[in-house]
Structure formats: C-alpha cells, structure tokens
C-alpha cells in the first residue's frame, strides 16, 4: 500500500532538489571525475535494481511447490537454486530458504539495519526498515503477525531469523489448499512479497477477485 499525495502533481514543475539530493549528485560526480567508477555503472545498477521484484521470488516459490527436486536443492543452497532460474546475485550474499510447514512458521527481520534478499525480492518496504517492525519482530513476533492479520496456534513454532551477516533469508510459504490444478504461473501469481517475508500466508484470491 502507498499513499497517493494529491498535492504533488507528477509534472516537470517538481520541487527543486533538496540538500541530500544535491549532496548525492556532488559526491557521485566527484567520484566519477576521479575515475573511481563510470557514470554508466550507476545507470546500469539502477536497471539491475529495477529488474529485481517480488515476481522473481514468487517464481522460485512456485517452482519449489511443483518440483520436489528443485525444492530440495533450494532448501540446501538457496542462492544456487535461484541462479539455476537465472536470478543472479550481484553481491556476496548467500540465501537460506526457510520452509514453512504445518508445525513451523518462519519470519525474517534485520534488527540492526535492513538486510533483505534484494537480488530475489527487490527493495524492502519502508515498514521493514523502520523501528516498530525491527524492534518487535524478534521479541513479540505473534503480536507483529497479528497486526498483519496472521494468527497461528501455539502448537505452531514461530521461527524468527535475524540477519546480521552475509546470509539473507526467504520464506517458502505453505502452498494453499485448492491449488492442486494450478499452473506454475498461476501459483506464482498468488505469492506476495509479504508472504516471502513471512508476515502473511499465501492465500487464494477471494471470490470475485480478478484472475
């Protein structure tokens, strides 16, 4: 969800760049002039970032749901399995995929900063990077889940993974019942970013939803 700001028309007559935007321009231009990197590398990396969205993660999940051997490889080495599907990792991070079961529900957080599986999910939402989630996901995960509408019985173990180093996490949610005849593409369309963070399960669309 994001708010539409009715007071900020998306025209060329935008506000002048603020202090930090000017600072970013200054630093970047000076470094390029020093020859430390090329301006084209920045443009390229913007394109890389734009190409990484939750649709990639959803594809991984759908494949894991439909291909048991892939699922096993994914759980053994998340990064390699993603790379099999063409999802490159442009940094040195590893990926551990956390499997939800009837007895275990996984949730990911980075209490110290904002570590997130960017190569396979894109950039994290603001709420993931802000204090309330980061502070409370590790100490009261069930209350946090409830705020997202997710309530799990006490006989389901909640596992919270706090990223602090070079490994990133992705939750492999439970496949919803009633999807036995879905194609991989139909399955992928069900998988949301928030389900791969672990704050919600994967749900079937409500009757009347668009396909």
């Amino acid at each position: 969800m994001h708010d539409h700001d009715d007071h900020a028309p998306e025209t060329a007559a935008a506000e002048p760049p603020g202090f930090y935007e000017v600072l970013e321009t200054a630093v970047r231009e000076l470094l390029v002039e020093q020859g430390l990197f090329e301006a084209a590398e920045i443009h390229r990396q913007i394109d890389v970032l734009d190409s990484r969205t939750p649709a990639l993660g959803a594809m991984v999940i759908a494949r894991a749901w439909t291909d048991a051997a892939f699922r096993a490889r994914l759980l053994a080495d998340g990064r390699s399995a993603c790379e099999e599907l063409g999802i490159s990792f442009y940094d040195d991070t590893g990926l551990i995929v956390l499997e939800n079961t009837a007895r275990v529900h996984n949730l990911i957080v980075c209490t110290l900063c904002s570590c997130y599986p960017r190569p396979v999910l894109g950039l994290p939402p603001d709420w993931y990077k802000l204090k309330p989630y980061r502070a409370r996901a590790v100490s009261e995960p069930r209350k946090v889940l409830a705020e997202f509408g997710t309530v799990l019985p006490d006989d389901v173990e909640i596992r919270v993974s706090d990223s602090t180093a070079v490994v990133r996490y992705l939750v492999l949610p439970l496949r919803p019942a009633g999807t036995e005849n879905f194609t991989e593409a139909q399955l992928a369309a069900l998988v949301t970013r928030d389900a791969m963070i672990g704050v919600v399960p994967v749900r079937l669309p409500e009757p009347g939803d668009l396909p």
Binding site: P141, R142, I158, R159, V166, V167
Partner: protein, 114 residues
Amino acid sequence: MINGGTAQALAHIVLATGETPLFQPGERVRVDDRVPIGHYRVPMYLRGKIGTVEAVIQPRGLDNEEEGFGRNAGNKRHYYRVVLPMPDLWPDYPGSPNDTLHIEVFETWLERIA
C-alpha cells in the same frame, strides 16, 4: 599407484588456522558478553545468551565487525546459525515457549559450553 598416493596425501592434509569450524551443529554455545565500542553486529539482546548451533555457514567469511573498518584480509572464520528459545531472550515472552530466534554469529563471539 595414484590411488594409493592420493589416499596417503589426504591422510596427511593439514588445515590452516580457521579452516576447520570450531563448532558443529548440535553444540551448545554461549554468546560473549563483551561490550565493544563503535561497531558491532551482535545485538545487545543476544549478549551472554546460550543457544545451540543449528548450522555451520559455508564458506568462511570475513569478520564483519573488522570489515566495517575496511579490514578485509586475513580474518576469515565461520559464521554459525544459532538457535535460541524465545523465553530465554525475553522475560514474560508473549507467545509459545517453543518459539525460537535464529541468528548468524561469527566464530569469535562464541564459546563452547562444557
């Protein structure tokens, strides 16, 4: 013969310092309670707590606390995914006592509990 030579050579391999993980899955470990200044990657909520090694992260990695100051050589050791019961971390934990926290910790922050 080559096979015999290989077997003999393998029997005499010496691993460099830090190549062998110090801890194995299932071992109980305590997170150190030292108090660094300026940069650390072990949250305060973990200091002095006891957990179980769930997995050895491969390959070895740089000490991220030193890497934060640009030191990126000569300090590779293992990170460990450690699991801790939530009630051990939080007094009056509001949830199931079976809930757990999982976190990567660098080898130099852990000690084996006898």
